[in-house]
Amino acid sequence: MRTRRRVRRRTGLPVVATALVVALGGPAVPARAAAPDAATPHAAAPDVTAAPVTAPSTVDMAATGLAERPYLGWSSWSMQSSKYPGLNPDGDYSYLTEANVLKQADALATRLKPYGYEYVNIDAGWWRDNDWTPRFDEYARQTPDPVRFPRGMKAVADHIHAKGLKAGIYLPVGLEKEAYAGGAAPIWNAPGCTTADIVYPDLRTTNGWDSAYKIDFDDPCAQRYIDSQARMFADWGYDFLKLDGVGPGSFKSGDNYDNVADVAAWQKAIAATGRPIHLELSWSLDIGHAADWKRYSNGWRIDTDVECYCNTLVTWENSVDDRFDDAPAWSRKAGPGGWNDLDTLNVGNGAMDGLTQAERQTYMTLWAISKSPLYTGDDLTRLDDYGLSLLTNSEVIAVDQDGAPPARPVTPAGDQPVWAAKNPDGSWTVALFNLADAPASVTAHWASLGFTGKATVRDLWNRKTLGTYKDSIGAALPAHGSRLFTVRPGGPALVTTRYEAEAATNTLSGNASVAGCDACSGGQKVGNLYLGGKLRFNDVTVRRDGIYTVAISYVSGDIRSATVSANGGNGTSLRFPSTGDWGTAETVSVQLALKAGANTITVDSADWYAPDIDRIDVPQTP
């Protein structure tokens, strides 16, 4: 029986994948679980008090100097997980070998290092053979498979370091079931501690695959186990650890899958080694715990695997395009010390990636404006010219690395959203996207960025200054295409009139009601806009006829839709990106025709749930 631990599909994707997990689940529950001896573990841990016990770390991860900017590099998993011909000749995931890792490290050093790529990250399987059977040392620590890594892991790290690069390694969260060893395995450098001490007596499982026993950090032995693993990695010389299957997240919730304590233990253990090791968390981390992730780690995967587990590395639909929906919620969570990780960036070889040129450019555009780590999973020895041009575009990398907050969608109508972020120097990063399956034109209106008049536009992908554009810039985009600009305003700020949602002059219908909102202007918003509930702004007054870019400030903890219309028109159905939680307001814009004099603007929940509305801002001129 093969155990395939990394089958991670989003809910609703092929049932086959789910069935596989069930059919190939972990080994039978060990005998210990059937007859737990609750008395044993604590009684047998006399030395624990001797270990230095510190209070939970309050160190801001930014202070470590790690992840000051999103990291760049390479990861092994994309090629491991692919059915692309020739990649895994010795069975699934068999790509992961010392020879392959070093080959990629050499290529990274030669071709991409000058552009800032530095991490070479070994993903799952380094301690498992080609049948996926794991190997542990006497202290229940993962130990390298001698076929994959005949010289061990330190030699690999040494080679990577010799190239001027940094080495990354991987672990699943929890005590892997196969490491338990009947509870008898001693913990390294923790006299009296065994694996039995660090888990719960009922051997409850944890992580995204339920492949490990949940660690009980109430027992001091538990921290010692993490310390022993961290020490091992530090001794080997690793600079990066991806901790995988972490919850809440990894498609799991509930107490057994709450791994915040594990992550905290890792942060503490790493600090204790004295070696700076970047700690990255995976996958689909619960945004509700964003503060925890930010406190204890340097980055967190916001989404499921980008890989398709198919004949290419990825496909557009499975699941590059999911990030457009899922990234906005996290836009205010990232910053120096910890970044939103959109997963591997596979744009280097069109045939292997399984993407069109347009899709590859769009992929990297979203990653860059989201300030995601940029680590490719491509075969770096086989980058095509276009892929190399993408991965080495220093202007786009600079957007990723500028330390500013991620971009957000500013005009989210239909399949042609415009995303933007204001840069520290007052310019704007503006990305046009066409997510539709057919070509489309996409336009960014300066008014949606809060300024008017002329602005100079730099085309980052084509590395040329396009010139001065008045009021807007548009482009024809192919299916799944994009453009990325730096826009430097030259005109005045937009003068707008504010209309608060909670104003008494507005008309609420359905169950719509005014509620308090600390994040909102005026301290109030209109909520309960659902199933036909409407908010109508009355007497929106402008001086002349025309199309106006109306800004809508809203609060929405998830993605919601509403139809926004003027003067009884049919309006536009807008898909409001999540603001991350119900205490944060964001702004999007919509184009509406207004006539000189008084107008109405209506936000209609139609047949589903709309966001809560803070206010609208209407320009004084079209």
Partner: protein
């Protein structure tokens, strides 16, 4: 009353332009019919440029900011056509893509073996299907959209030109695509301004697995093949440039460093509209003919090809002009698709867009209905080989709607394709009807046991074949169109030509009608003639006698036939018989239960209330037995209005167009206009409405939309019907002018039944000036602003009317 007789010269700029062009080149007479894909004489070339100056051309141009691509051509491709060959152009800078369709490339055949239920098979092999001929690609790898700026594509309706411009690396590149009828080719001309050049590949591929071969010496690629039904077909392309190199590589044609590039493509079949010849012309080798045509055209300067094409289409386009008033300036900054979206979003009238939508319909007809088969469900614009409903001729509204526009919009010559089609099919239709209609399993058979004349099913193909169910009244409805064309033109020779169709349909009904006894409200009984077991399209009982749809159509048919016998001086004895039958025809009543005009001989609603078809209202439109002008009993008008109201306001494109036409007839301008606005709703995810390229999209099921051309032609007919209503001897100006267009506007070249053309200008909702020209009519009543006046004219003369 201010009536000034004037000389028959024309003062309208468009007409003047037409005459000037015709005088310059003699083209109007030189370019006669081109009934099939056949060798043609060298076209006469205009001696002066017929091109409009850019400012004038801009008045009838649509434009877009994005191209189309493979898989999206139905919604994003721009149509060109020479009446037989149609193509959808994607205009991607790096990948020009043309889906090319020949209107005659049909599988199937006579299809005269009925199923066990007495109805026709309806498959792609037996009945057949229109299919795509070829895909032409021009790959220019250096022009990927990712490096392109300032992209813009245009569709020039007046001159029949698709164009695209864009910048790459500081060079402006231009391409122009047109389908020439005189040269019988499609031309793609690539130019640039600066120091640019084109490098890439031209490929021509069949869509049925054909092998393309190349002629290296002539730099020509072609393919030819035949269907199981014996139809031969083929296509060819050639490429040339004044600079750079053009070479054959594999089965493609490569070009490198060409500062300009001309690609000429043609193709066709050996279809012949002749039942006696088995609908084939054995003398035609389509592949060879296509090669001959492209090589001949490629020998001409591309400018001459362009001028010849524009001189061919521009006069036709300019016979009609419409101005529904100015749109707000800020809408003019939007491209056509953005305007469609803004029109819906803000629900603010966009008169320029609405007028352009009308002209787009005319453009489709000019491009798709000249000298070959008529426009079916999609015209000659397919992407793929399996169009829904075979892209066929649907006889229970769709093909009829396609041609409602022709005479109204000064495209009477485009109507010929329909008349010629029906004539060519008549021998088969007659034969199949005689042999099969009274099959004992056909639930629609004549219980009289007699059969005569001709009938068709709901679908027809170009091989004399019918598909799906028998449709008894289909013949009468086709004849309604055929006769109406005579009413517009007063062309006796034409009437004589189609007379056998009219008479055959009459004979069919004379054999079919059965007697029934009806009792009126006062208890008086009378014997009437009714349709036998039938189905009111496409809902309700399938064995109903005396359905309103058939009764109205037969009533019209008999009346039209009687007129034809009088005009032509023929069959006076039989005419008396028919007149007697007509007297006895049952005509529908208003239901005392629902208040609706009855669809069946029942006071009850036996079908779907909001059904798409308006079959029982056929006497309101396209017929005019039901009129809101006092000449029809008010109760009948009220019943029709109530039924139309019940049918609702939200249906498929063609069904909305028909509703709009009916509301226009009822002079309810705002309701008619609202249906136009509904059809202009942008189609999203295949939803009903208008695609980016203005094609009407019909949602077959959620998330899947298809193109159906009928709404693109029927909605424009509704716009005209809102401006001018006519029946022989009666014209009403601005019968249903909506507020959106009331401020000021004009329309010229509108066909008037009875043999006239009218031009109308208005301001503040009132006619300011009208001009009536006789194209054969001698007298009519003109009604405007509640005032009627009689006008007598000699054919060829005009009169200007003022003082309204």
């Amino acid at each position: 009353m201010d009536i000034r007789n004037t000389e028959p010269h024309d003062i309208r700029p468009s007409r003047r332009g037409l005459l000037a062009l015709a005088a310059a080149s003699g083209l109007v007479t030189a370019l006669g019919g081109l009934p099939t894909f056949a060798a043609s004489a060298a076209p006469r070339r205009p001696t002066t440029s017929p091109l409009l100056d850019p400012e004038d051309a801009a008045r009838n141009q649509l434009w877009w900011k994005a191209p189309g691509a493979a898989g999206s051509l139905i919604e994003q491709g721009l149509p060109v056509g020479n009446g037989r060959l149609g193509a959808l152009a994607g205009n991607d800078p790096a990948n020009e893509l043309l889906a090319i369709t020949d209107a005659t490339l049909w599988t199937g055949g006579l299809n005269d073996t009925l199923q066990s239920d007495g109805q026709f098979p309806y498959g792609r092999d037996d009945f057949g299907s229109l299919t795509q001929l070829a895909t032409l690609t021009v790959d220019i790898p250096g022009h990927d959209l990712g490096v392109v700026d300032a992209y813009r594509r245009t569709l020039d309706l007046a001159q029949g030109l698709v164009g695209a411009t864009y910048d790459v690396g500081g060079v402006t590149y231009r391409r122009q695509i047109f389908a020439s009828r005189p040269d019988d080719v499609i031309v793609l001309h690539f130019t640039q301004e600066g120091r640019g050049a084109y490098t890439g590949t031209v490929s021509l591929a069949g869509t049925h697995g054909e092998a393309t071969t190349v002629d290296a010496a002539r730099r020509c690629a072609s393919f030819g093949a035949s269907f199981a039904n014996g139809l031969r077909y083929g296509a060819a392309v050639t490429v040339h440039s004044a600079s750079g190199t053009v070479t054959v590589t594999g089965t493609s044609i490569a070009f490198a460093d060409c500062r300009d590039l001309t690609v000429v493509v043609s193709g066709g079949t050996n279809y012949a509209p002749d039942q006696a010849a088995g609908f084939r012309d054995p003398s035609v080798d389509p592949e060879r003919l296509a090669r001959t045509k492209v090589l001949a055209a490629a020998r001409e300067p591309v400018r001459d090809l362009l001028h010849t094409h524009v001189a061919d289409v521009r006069p036709l386009f300019e016979r009609f002009a419409v101005d529904l008033g100015p749109s707000p300036a800020w809408l003019r900054e939007l491209d056509t698709w953005e305007r469609v979206q803004a029109r819906w979003r803000d629900d603010v009238p966009d008169p320029e867009l609405e007028a352009a939508y009308l002209q787009f319909g005319r453009y489709l007809m000019i491009s798709g209905s000249r000298g070959s088969l008529p426009l079916g469900l999609q015209g000659p614009w397919l992407e793929g080989n399996d169009p829904d409903w075979m892209g066929d001729y649907h006889t229970d509204v769709n093909i009829q709607m396609n041609y409602w526009l022709a005479d109204r919009a000064a495209l009477g010559s485009c109507f010929d394709a329909l008349a010629d089609y029906c004539l060519a099919q008549l021998p088969s239709w007659t034969d199949v009807t005689r042999r099969l209609f009274n099959s004992p399993t056909n639930r629609f058979r004549n219980s009289t046991g007699r059969v005569a004349g001709w009938a068709v099913a709901f679908s027809t193909n170009p091989y004399g074949g019918s598909g799906w169910w028998w449709h008894p009244a289909g013949n009468a409805w086709l004849c309604q169109n055929l006769f109406e064309h005579f009413e517009y033109t007063q062309d006796r020779a034409y009437l004589a030509k189609v007379y056998p169709l009219l008479k055959g349909a009459v004979e069919f009904w004379a054999a079919r009608l059965v007697t029934s006894t009806v009792t009126d409200a006062s208890g008086v009984s009378r014997e009437v003639l009714v349709d036998d077991a039938d189905w009111s399209p496409e809902h309700g009982p399938q064995d109903a006698r005396g359905i309103t749809y058939a009764q109205e159509l037969v009533w019209q048919l008999f009346g039209n036939y009687l007129t034809a016998t009088q005009v032509l001086g023929r069959d006076s004895g039989y005419a008396e018989t028919v007149a007697g039958l007509r007297e006895r025809l049952y005509l529908p009543e208003v239901s005392p239960t629902t208040g609706w005009l009855q669809e069946w001989m029942s006071p009850d609603n036996l079908g779907e209330t909001t059904h798409r078809h308006l079959s029982p209202l056929i006497g309101l439109f396209p017929g005019d037995r039901i009129r809101p002008d006092g000449s029809t009993p008010a109760e009948l008008v009220a019943g029709a209005t109530a039924l139309l109201t019940a049918r609702g306001m939200n249906s498929f494109g063609w069904a909305n167009a028909w509703r709009s036409l009916c509301w226009a007839r009822l002079k309810d301008a705002e309701t008619a206009y609202r249906l136009l606005a509904t059809n202009l709703k942008p189609s999203v995810n295949g939803g009903n409405g208008t695609a980016m390229n203005l094609f009407d999209i019909y949602e077959t099921n959620p998330g899947r939309g298809i193109f159906q051309i009928d709404a693109n032609l029927g909605t424009p007919a509704a716009i005209i019907e809102m401006l001018v209503y006519s029946r022989p001897g009666h014209v009403e100006l601005l019968p249903a002018l909506p507020a959106a267009w009331a401020a000021a506007g004009s329309v010229s070249g509108v066909g008037v039944r009875g043999g006239f053309v009218v031009d109308v200008s208005w301001a503040n909702g009132r006619v300011t000036r009208a001009r009536l020209t006789s194209t054969g009519g001698r007298s009519t009543t003109v009604v405007a602003g509640g005032r009627a006046r009689r006008v007598d004219l000699v054919p060829g003369r005009s009169v200007t009317l003022g003082d309204f």
